[in-house]
């Protein structure tokens, strides 16, 4: 009797285990079969498979990728691209790939992650490859920091140039409310926000649920005072915020108190903020130069961008050429564990160049990493033309980025805090200084 039940139970346990195992096993064989099919080339020659982890989820990301892959087919017909779609997850999945030794041949990541990968040997040093020398020769002027890391190594082939942040405004609303343009000083901007609020507009839409945008805004003010920007939080190893940074924090607080930002700003996402601006509820908007396309599409010739305001008009004029954007390495990197490393490096460099080509010739964006021979075929929005004609030729300097992730994060946290009423400049400097003192010891 007893035996029988032991048996029954063990059969049950075994059964449930086999169910799960056969489920796995069955599918596993399916997988290998399908990958074998796709791997075998039809024409008999063996194709080299390159697995690439890249963003490919909306038009902004899929179009340049598809274009580059099509071009690659012409250039290197023996290479087959296998795409592993990346999403915006703070590179968690990529880090898991690294931890499990399952890196794709080519991947796309940011500088913070690249630094970890460099330490753990998950990124191939591209310094001595002929492709790198070639890439360097084609690089647009001023973009060295996009290709060569502060430690002198090359980790990735970038495809965009140095992107920067702009203040967009709705000309119609400004006219209606009677605000003089251009706004040149912080005081004028504070005045404008009061007028706009009184007229029932949200002065500036900002998607401050994402911390980087509040930091970008702050950086806009900092770079008026100190062209090098955040890099100076690291370069001289200061253990307290330099004056330029304190001034900028005071200015940002002043603007917040003048009502520039919505009370719900820190819980506003991109879709909400852009919708406020596009629908004419908000008079200004802050975002990168890439925003030019969608705001032109939505607002036509009503929208324009302005230079960052400064403490006075003289500073405003002298700082026009200080770009609120910093280059740091990023783009397509190659895994050292790739079985076809040589090919992967070639492909990575090629794809980055073709991305640039697409963005330049089809989208009309001059913010690309390498020089493009092809002419611009797409229609270039006037705001982008202004950048090409007015800004790029007059760039005095780009800001430098901060590499230390602790410093970067504490700045992110506290610029967001500056948008909350009641948070003081003193709290801001105290919080940042604590980390500076610790990290710059």
């Amino acid at each position: 009797m007893k035996r029988k039940y032991v048996k029954a139970l063990s059969v049950l346990a075994a059964l449930s285990l086999t169910i799960s195992l056969t489920a796995c096993g069955g599918n596993k064989s399916d997988n290998t079969a399908s990958s074998a099919n796709s791997g075998g080339a039809n024409d008999g020659t063996k194709k080299i498979q390159i697995k690439i982890y890249a963003q490919h989820f909306d038009e902004d990301t899929s179009k340049p990728f598809d274009y580059a892959v099509e071009e690659l087919k012409k250039e290197m017909p023996n290479v087959e691209i296998v795409l592993d779609e990346a999403v915006q997850d703070g590179y968690q999945k990529l880090k898991t790939y690294a931890a499990t030794g399952n890196m794709p041949d080519i991947y796309e990541t940011d500088w913070t992650t690249l630094q970890t990968f460099a330490k753990s040997k998950n990124v191939e040093l591209l310094d001595s490859y002929p492709e790198t020398a070639d890439f360097k020769s084609k690089l647009n002027t001023g973009l060295e920091s996009r290709l060569t890391a502060p430690d002198g190594h090359v980790y990735a082939f970038p495809y965009t140039g140095i992107e920067f942040q702009l203040l967009y405004y709705n000309k119609d609303i400004f006219q209606k409310v009677g605000i003089q343009t251009p706004i040149k000083t912080i005081d004028q901007l504070a005045d404008a926000s009061k007028k706009l609020s009184a007229a029932g507009y949200t002065p500036m839409a900002i998607f401050a649920k994402e911390k980087w945008i509040t930091t970008a805004f702050y950086a806009g003010l900092v770079t008026r005072e100190d062209a090098k920007g955040f890099g100076d939080l690291e370069a001289g190893k200061p253990n307290a915020l330099p004056t330029a940074f304190v001034t900028a924090a005071e200015q940002m607080k002043k603007l917040q108190e003048a009502g520039l930002f919505d009370a719900n700003a820190t819980n506003t996402n991109y879709d909400q903020a852009s919708s406020q601006f596009f629908s004419g509820k908000a008079a200004m908007f802050v975002n990168g130069q890439w925003e030019i396309y969608s705001s032109t599409e939505k607002l036509g010739d009503k929208v324009d961008w302005m230079y960052w305001p400064a403490k006075d008009e003289a500073t405003y004029d002298s700082s026009k050429g200080f770009i609120n954007g910093a280059g740091s390495p990023g783009g397509f990197s190659v895994s050292p564990s790739s079985k076809n490393k040589e090919t992967a490096v070639k492909v990575a460099s090629f794809l980055a160049q073709k991305y640039s080509e697409y963005k330049y010739s089809v989208l009309g964006s001059p913010i690309v990493s390498v020089k493009v021979d092809k002419p611009m075929t797409g229609e270039v929005p006037p705001m982008m033309k202004r950048i090409a004609d007015e800004v790029l030729p007059n760039v005095k300097s780009y800001a430098t980025a901060v590499n230390n992730v602790q410093i970067k994060n504490v700045v992110d946290d506290n610029t967001q805090n500056l948008l909350v009423s009641g948070f003081t400049v003193k709290q801001f400097t105290d919080n940042v200084n604590r980390i500076l003192a610790k990290e710059n010891k």
């Binding site: 195992l21 489920a23 796995c24 599918n27 989820f57 499990t100 879709d271 919708s275 509820k281 969608s294």
Partner: protein
Amino acid sequence: MNKLRAVLVQTPLWIYFVISVYPLVWMISYSLKNNDEIFVTNPFGFPTHFRIENYIAAWSQFNIPRYFINSFIVSSVSTLLIIVLALMFSFAIARMRWKFRESVRLYMTIGMFMPLQVIMIPLAILVRDFHLTNTYGALIVPYVAIGLPFSCLIFYGFMKSIPGELEESACMDGANIYRMFLQIIVPVVTPAIATVAIFQFLSNWNEFMLAYILISDEAMKTLPLGLLFFQGQYSTDWGGMGAVMTIASLPMVIVYLFFSEQVENAMTVGSAVKG
């Protein structure tokens, strides 16, 4: 008088009913709106214009039936395993007499508190070492392990409160321990089984993080991963996400409605055994 009292007692219950059902209605109308309607013009009301295109987009973006089947297999196999293993384990802890049962119980509790974020990478390595990468096992094994502490604790609570006489009478009848487990204890805790089954199935069904990290093969992906298709580089298609969430949740609501009937029945059976 009595009637008035009944109304007074019942009204709050029905108010809470509305608060509980509204999200369902909200989700469905959300899935039929675009970003402007969701955030600015009409966040709470019914959609004025039914944007079926959200569903069409969801359907064309990814292989919904495939994802659905994967979700179903993973959730049901792991739920089944959790229940069988947790019942056995809890029985040994709650009803049987041996020395270290309290320590073993505490040992089982630890897993409930471990945040997924930190065991994620060791788990991914484990999955690789057991050659489970991109198989159903990559999700089933972790789901079972993660579900166990919780389920064991529930079963333990229920089994602990079973009166001792039940066992004694079973013992008198000459039933052995396995038979007692299957024929006396398991039927008594049926309501708990139903509750655990629903809850485990749901949490496996909705699980996103592990599925995202451990599965890269298109053929193995589960439904929550469909949400990723609507996240753009800058902008997110919230209506499309709503459609995916509705596609994922609605069947669950229906299954639950069906299942809750079974729970009720199970309970009556359960008390009949007890009586």
